[in-house]
Structure formats: C-alpha cells, structure tokens
Amino acid sequence: MTKKKLTNAEKGWERGVIASKIANDLPHASYVNLGIGMPELVSQHIKDDREIIYHSENGLLGMGPTPNENEIDFDLINAGKKPVTILPGGSFCHHADSFSMIRGGHIDYCVLGAMEVSMNGDLANWSTGKGIPAVGGAMDLVAGAKNVFVMTQHLTKEGKPKLVEKCTLPLTGSGVVSRVYTDYAVIDITKEGFKVVEINENLSIEYLQTVTEGRVYQ
C-alpha cells in the first residue's frame, strides 16, 4: 500500500467516464436512486436505448433534471434539497411510502459515494466519527436497494485506499455493496476478494493491488 502520485499519462478516469460506465450498467426500465454528489452525474450519461426512472427518497418518483432559474420551486426538491423537476409519468408520495419503495426492494439500483468499502461489501459513507452525526437515507438505501453500486475516487484525498480489508469508519451497512466504480477500475465484491471487471487502460493489475487493501484479482 504505497501512496504514489499517478503521472498525467496514468491519470485515472474522469468523473464523467466513471458515470458513463455506471450508466451503461443500468438496464432499461430500472428504478434508480442516485446519491447526492458525484452519483448525480450518472443520469447525464444514459443512452437513448433505455429509459431509467429516478427516485428521490423525499417522495419523488420520476425525477427530472435541474430546472431553469425561472422555474425553481422550493417545494420541488431532491434528497440533497436542491431544486429539481418531475417528468411526465412521475408521482409524489409521502416519506413512509417512499421508503417502502427502498426498504421493500423496489429500487433496482442505488449509486452512492463511499469513504470505505471492505472486501465483504461493507460500506462506510456516513460518518468520519467526528462532528455532528447525520445519516439521512443512506442506511435505508444500502439495506433495501436490490443492487448497491459505489461511485468513488479510488484513493482518499490523503492518498489512502478506500477499498480495504475491513472498514475502520462507522458502517452504513454490512455486506451490502455489489460493485464499485472508481477512477482506477470497476470492481465486483466477491467471496474471493475484489474482482476487477475493468481496469483503467493506463494501469496494471499489479499497480491496482498497491493502491488497494485486500486481495485484487481478475
């Protein structure tokens, strides 16, 4: 586990590239919840060959893009409390019904950020252990969605691996992550370890192992 700055030639995928890889893995007619932040990019990369329906846990199914400045309505917001729109065929519901969709396994995919993901699919993404603890809907999403995808940088800002043998931060869920998309690779969580589905064209599997805790294999 050596921290090593990548050269320009070895630069990881841009966020848009990661987002488009996720977008391609979401099947037609899926119901999807995109976490606040980086995962929101995914919706911009969905191809015309499929229709995806976006769920926002604050009671909105069929969420559309950000409104124009003059169309902003503070009563129509997403889970990140930012103004959004609703598409034809969308609907509103109350919070208990919205989380029935999540907890009941009706959301096909959720895409979330991560601080740490462990080899057995544990996810830590809600608390650094410091400051005011605030969980929002993250624990419900990872426990309830049929498939939990993680979208994250491979390393922390300090250059530490986010893919680890065992999480050290407070967990969001245990054994919940199925696939991780980073700037370095697409990785499945399996019983044998981190299985590399796709690796950044600039990187070797040996290098990936050095920036990942726990066994990486192809």
Binding site: H28, A29, E51, H55, G89, C93, A96, S100, I102, H106
Partner: protein
Amino acid sequence: MQINKIKTEIAEMLSDVFDGATIMVGGFGEAGSPIELLHGLIDHGAKDLTIIANNSGNGRVGLGALIGQKQVKKVICSFARSAKGITFQELYNKGKIELEVVPQGTLAERIRAAGSGIPAFYTATAVGTPLAIGKEEKIFNGKKYILEEALNADFALVKADVSDRYGNLTFKKTARNFNPVMCMAAKQSLIQVRKLIEPHQTNPENVITPGIFVKKIIEIDNPIIETNAIEEGMIYP
C-alpha cells in the same frame, strides 16, 4: 426506448404464473375484484394455488369460479363466509381446500409489510383470541401485543380504474381497498384497468399506486360486474 408495461392479451399478462404460486387477489367483495384476470387464470390452468384475498368469491364468476375449478389449494383471507360463496363452501365442507383466517386489518398490514421490507410487526389485534395461538407475544408500555409476519406473494391480480404506460394507477371509490398494498407486496403485480391514459395526463399529486409497484397492465374497458353476472346466471368457463 420507452418503458411500456401495457399488454394486449390476458394470456401475456399471466405468462409467468406457475403451479403452486401464491397469488394475491385484490378487491373487497366485488369492488375492485379483477374478474377478467381471474378468468384468464382459469384459462391458464395453473394448479395448487394459494390465494390471498379478503374474501373467497361469490357464485361461479371470478374468484368463485377459480375455486370451483379446483385450482386453489389454500385461501388466506379474513372472511370466507358469504351467502353466494358456493364453490368455497362446498370444497371446505369436504376438506378439499385449506383456509387461514386473518383479521382484516392484520391481513392488510401483513401485505403492506411485505411490500415495505418489514418482515414482522407487533399488533394488539387478536391478542387473547384463538387467532393469537402460536404467535410470539411481547409487552410494550404495559400492553400485550403479538408478532405478525409479512405476507408475500408471487403475483397480484388487481383491478384499477386508470393507468398510464408506467403503471401509475388510480382506483374508483371503495374499489381501492386491498389493491394498492397488494401491488407493493407481489413480485409481479398484474393490473386490469378500465382506461389507459398518456403519461402527461397523469397528475403526479393524485397517483395512488406509482408505477414502481406495477409489472404489467391491460385495458379492460367494460369489466364484468359480479352482482349482475351472478344474477344473470353467468358460469365461467
């Protein structure tokens, strides 16, 4: 590509149904009862079904007809007694059909729980009665409750009033009843609607069952009215 859950043939609606399946049937008495889908299930011929519904059918129409065809092994319901419930009565008296009686509110909540990812909940309903026998008890704030488990199903047959191609449903008056929670609880909810509309015609504030809970939809614009059908002596098939 656009999402489109609309089918044109009842056989297509029921194509995944299998022998031994657990099937929820919406409706309270005849209101909201998906008679055409039930007749489709008779044509389909699946056997050894477990039916979850509030009632056990009337006459030889809809659920009554399905039971009369001996396709049903077991009924889970709140009220299996009815003057016109001839097919269930006959089989029950001969010991040829099983019955699990569930209080109506517990039935509704067990179905909602299944759809909401809640494997079990506590309720005061039925405490101290024969229907609590064998159930785990627990005291909360000095009051006794029993544990009731979620009731899942493979399929739900549901009658709604209006839908778009996503399956955003509205219902008519008291024909709403068990239909919305059954849509939530079944792996596949199969809906007959009186009228199809375009998505832009759906008012997002007034959707009762959002499309996420709906698998397939078929338009049946002039559905059979059970009371009239029985009066007219209808026998299906």
